[in-house]
C-alpha cells in the first residue's frame, strides 16, 4: 500500500501536528489551502490552540475511518480476469483489490449490516466542559467542518432547551444590560413569546 500524503498543521501555540491528507480535508478551509498549493509546507492555524486542534484531529480521524469502513463494506472485490480463462477444475483464487477510487453508494444490504455507533461516539466526544465546547464551535467554524459545527451548536442549544430565561442567564453568565424599565417594557410588548 503506497504511503499516504501527510499534511503538517501548526497551532497558535506552536504545536506541530502531522495528519493524513484525507483527515485534513475534512476541514473545507484546509482543503482549499491544499488546493491552492499550500499542502507541501506547514499550514499555520493562528486561531486554533494546540489543545483544541488535537481534539479536532481526533474527530476528523474518527469520521474518515467510519466512512472508509462503510465504503469497504460495499466495495466488491474484483476478479483478476485472466484466471477465469483457464477452464481447469482447480479453484481459482479471487484477489481482493480494494478499489478506494470507486464511489459506490452506501449499501444498505451490507454483508455485516450493523447499526452505526458513530452517533454515540459523537455524543461522548462533545460531552466536554463549557469552555472547551465554545472553543470547539469557534474553531470548527474557522476550519469549516460542517459536522462538528452542527454537533457543537446542537450541544449548546441542548443546554438552553426548556430552560427559563433566568436559568439560561445563570448557566452562561449572561449580563442583563436592560434597565428594569426597559426590561419591563420588553416583557410587556413581547408577552407573546412567553405564552
Amino acid at each position: 500500500m503506497s504511503s499516504k500524503k501527510m499534511i503538517t498543521l501548526k497551532s497558535s501555540d506552536g504545536r506541530i501536528f502531522e495528519v493524513e491528507e484525507a483527515v485534513a480535508q475534512e476541514s473545507q478551509t484546509i482543503k482549499h489551502m491544499i488546493e491552492d498549493g499550500y499542502g507541501n509546507s506547514v499550514i499555520p492555524l493562528p486561531n486554533v490552540t494546540g489543545r483544541i486542534l488535537y481534539k479536532i484531529i481526533e474527530f476528523c480521524t474518527k469520521h474518515v475511518a467510519v466512512e472508509e469502513d462503510i465504503k469497504q463494506k460495499s466495495v466488491e472485490p474484483t476478479v483478476v480476469v485472466e484466471d477465469v480463462k483457464q477452464k481447469s477444475v482447480e479453484p481459482t483464487v479471487v484477489e481482493d483489490v480494494k478499489q478506494k477510487s470507486v464511489e459506490l453508494p452506501v449499501d444498505d444490504d451490507a454483508w455485516d449490516a450493523e447499526p452505526s455507533d458513530i452517533d454515540e461516539w459523537d455524543a461522548q466526544f462533545i460531552d466536554v466542559d463549557e469552555s472547551t465546547m465554545f472553543e470547539l464551535i469557534v474553531a470548527s467554524n474557522y476550519l469549516n467542518i460542517k459536522r462538528l459545527m452542527d454537533l457543537s451548536a446542537q450541544a449548546i442549544a441542548d443546554m438552553m432547551k426548556d430552560k427559563t430565561v433566568e436559568e439560561i442567564r445563570k448557566i452562561f453568565n449572561i449580563q442583563n444590560d436592560f434597565t428594569p424599565e426597559e426590561e419591563m417594557k420588553i416583557r410587556n410588548e413581547n408577552s407573546w413569546a412567553y405564552e
Binding site: 479453484p91 438552553m160 430565561v165 449572561i174 444590560d177 436592560f178 413581547n190 413569546a193
Partner: protein, 508 residues
C-alpha cells in the same frame, strides 16, 4: 457573603456565549424550537438584536395549539410578532412553514417587508379546503436553492398554478414536491401533466428531484440535464413517464403507475449508477437503454391482478422484460425483491434472464414460499447462478407466506442421506455452474427454513463451492418451538462433505 463580593464573583466568570460571532449564535438558535429561540430576546440587548436578525425562520418547530380558533390565534399572534420584531434590513434566508392558517399569516406579513426577496430555502406544509395561493415573490426564482412543498387540498382547482413563463430558477438544486403541490407547476388548461416544466430553461441546475404521493399526476417528462437524483414514490395514477437525464445517476421509482391500462415508460440515462424499481406491476416495463455504468439495481415486482394465481406474463411482454434485464446486466449488485423471482420462474426465466451478468459480484434474492407459485422458484435461481460467473456474495432471504407444515422437514420422515428431487436437480446443473461455483465466497441465508428446498440448496453450495469461505444460516424467528429441529439440522449440515477447506458455517 455581602452583595459586593457576590458581584465580583460573577464578573470573574466570563460570558463566553455572548462573545461568539453572530452567525454562530444564529446557528445555535436554529437548533432550538422557534418559541424557545424567541424567548432569548430578553437575555440582553445583544440577544434581542440577534433574534431579530436571524436569517433562518423555521416555524415548523412550533407546537401548535389545538384547532379551536381561540387557541390558534395565539399562534397567529406569535408569527405576526416575530415579523414585527424583525430588523427590516436583514433578508430571510430560510423559511419553513406549516399549517394553512399560519402560512397565510406569514405570507401576509412578508408582503409588508421588502426583505423577502432573497429566500434561499422554502418549505411549506399545509392541508386545507381553501384556495391555496403562494405569492410569487416568495417562491423567488432568482434566489431559491431548495424548495419543499407539501400541499393537500380537496379540490385541485383550488391550488393556483404559479406563473412560470420565462422564469428561470437559476440556483435551485433541490426540489421536493409532495401530494398536490405539483399542481402549482401545471398549466391552467391541463392540471394532470407536467410535460414541459422540468427542463433546462426553467431549472438549469436542478440536481435532486423528489415527487412523492403525487396522486392525480398522469404524465411526466423530465429533461433537466444536471439532474443527478430522481425519486418517485406513490404516484399511482401515472400513465406516461419520459426521462431524459444525461447526468442522472440515481433513479428510484416505487409504487408508481396506474395498473389499469397500458403505460409508457422510457428512460434514457447513460450515467445511471443506482436503479431502484420496486413495488411495480410486472406489466409496467420500462424501455431502457443499456446502463453501462450501473452499480446497483433493485427490482421488486408483483404480478398483475388479473393473473395473480398464475404469475403469467403476456408473451409480448416477455421480450420487453428480457430487454430490461439486458439493460441491467452490467450491474455489480442486483437485488430481486418481492415476487420478481417467482414471476421469472413461471415465465420462461431462461428468456428473461438471458444475459450473463459478468460484472455481478453480489446478488440478493428475496423469495417466498407461497402455495400459489407451487413453491417453485429454483429455476430462476439456477439460471441466475449460471449467468453470474464471477459472483462473490450471495444473500437469500426467505419469507414464508403461509406456514405450510408439510414443508417443514422435521415433521416428515425423510431419509436425510438420500438425494431428494431438488438435490438431483442441483446436481444436474453443476456443469453449467462451474465458474459460479469457483468464485462464490460468501453465502447468507436469512429466514432459513428447515424445509427440503433450503436444505438442498445449502447442501449443493457446501458440497460444490470450491472457494467458499463463509456460510451464514439465520433461522426463522419463531424457531423456539423447533429447537430440536434446529439441532438436527446443525448436526446434519456439519456432517456434509465440503468442497472448500476454508469454509466456516455459522448458525444465527
Amino acid at each position: 457573603m455581602n452583595p459586593n463580593d457576590y458581584e465580583r464573583e460573577c464578573l470573574i466568570k466570563e460570558d463566553r456565549i455572548s462573545e461568539l460571532p453572530d452567525h454562530i449564535i444564529h446557528d445555535i438558535l436554529c437548533f432550538l424550537p422557534i418559541k424557545s429561540a424567541a424567548q432569548t430576546i430578553i437575555l440582553s440587548k445583544r440577544w434581542k438584536s440577534l433574534f431579530s436578525s436571524i436569517p433562518d425562520l423555521d416555524f415548523t418547530t412550533m407546537e401548535l395549539h389545538t384547532r379551536s380558533s381561540v387557541n390558534s390565534s395565539k399562534d397567529i399572534n406569535f408569527i405576526n410578532n416575530v415579523f414585527n420584531l424583525r430588523d427590516n434590513n436583514v433578508s430571510i434566508r430560510t423559511l419553513k412553514l406549516k399549517s394553512f392558517v399560519l402560512s397565510s399569516t406569514a405570507f401576509n406579513c412578508l408582503t409588508n417587508y421588502p426583505n423577502i426577496m432573497n429566500i434561499e430555502e422554502l418549505e411549506v406544509n399545509l392541508k386545507t379546503r381553501e384556495i391555496v395561493n403562494i405569492p410569487s415573490n416568495i417562491i423567488n426564482y432568482k434566489s431559491l436553492r431548495v424548495l419543499r412543498l407539501n400541499i393537500l387540498c380537496l379540490d385541485f382547482k383550488l391550488t393556483q398554478p404559479l406563473m412560470l413563463k420565462n422564469r428561470e430558477f437559476k440556483l435551485l438544486h433541490t426540489m421536493i414536491l409532495s401530494q398536490q403541490s405539483f399542481l402549482m407547476f401545471t398549466h391552467h388548461d391541463n392540471r394532470t401533466t407536467l410535460l414541459d416544466i422540468f427542463t433546462d430553461s426553467s431549472f438549469p441546475y436542478l440536481k435532486k428531484l423528489i415527487l412523492e404521493s403525487c396522486y392525480d399526476l398522469k404524465e411526466l417528462n423530465v429533461r433537466c440535464s444536471e439532474l443527478k437524483d430522481l425519486v418517485m414514490k406513490d404516484c399511482f395514477e401515472l400513465k406516461k413517464l419520459d426521462i431524459y437525464g444525461l447526468k442522472l445517476e440515481t433513479l428510484k421509482v416505487e409504487n408508481c403507475f396506474d395498473y389499469i391500462g397500458t403505460v409508457k415508460i422510457r428512460i434514457i440515462a447513460p450515467l445511471m449508477k443506482v436503479l431502484k424499481w420496486v413495488d411495480m406491476h410486472s406489466t409496467h416495463i420500462p424501455v431502457l437503454e443499456k446502463f453501462n455504468l450501473l452499480e446497483k439495481a433493485v427490482i421488486g415486482l408483483f404480478p398483475s391482478e388479473v393473473h395473480f394465481n398464475n404469475y403469467f406474463i403476456e408473451p409480448d411482454q416477455i421480450q420487453s422484460w428480457s430487454n430490461m434485464i439486458t439493460a441491467l446486466s452490467h450491474a455489480k449488485f442486483l437485488k430481486f425483491k418481492f415476487q420478481s423471482i417467482e414471476i421469472f420462474s413461471r415465465n420462461d426465466d431462461k428468456q428473461i434472464l438471458v444475459n450473463k451478468f459478468e460484472r455481478l459480484r453480489k446478488l440478493n434474492i428475496c423469495i417466498e414460499y407461497y402455495r400459489f407459485n407451487g413453491y417453485n422458484n429454483i429455476l430462476a435461481i439456477a439460471t441466475l447462478f449460471k449467468n453470474s460467473p464471477y459472483l462473490d456474495t450471495l444473500i437469500i432471504k426467505n419469507t414464508l407466506i403461509k406456514c405450510d407444515r408439510s414443508l417443514i422437514i422435521c415433521d416428515r420422515k425423510q431419509q436425510l442421506m438420500s438425494d431428494s428431487s431438488d438435490d438431483k436437480f442441483w446436481k444436474s446443473q453443476i456443469p453449467e455452474m462451474r465458474s459460479f461455483l469457483n468464485h462464490l465466497r460468501r453465502v447468507k441465508l436469512k429466514g432459513f427454513l428447515e424445509c427440503d428446498k433450503d436444505i438442498s440448496l445449502v447442501k449443493f453450495l457446501l458440497q460444490n463451492g470450491k472457494v467458499l469461505e463463509e456460510m451464514i444460516l439465520c433461522f426463522e424467528f419463531d424457531s423456539n418451538l423447533r429447537f430440536e429441529c434446529q439441532k438436527k439440522i446443525k448436526h446434519m449440515v456439519t456432517r456434509w462433505r465440503r468442497a472448500s477447506c476454508k469454509v466456516e458455517v455459522v448458525f444465527k
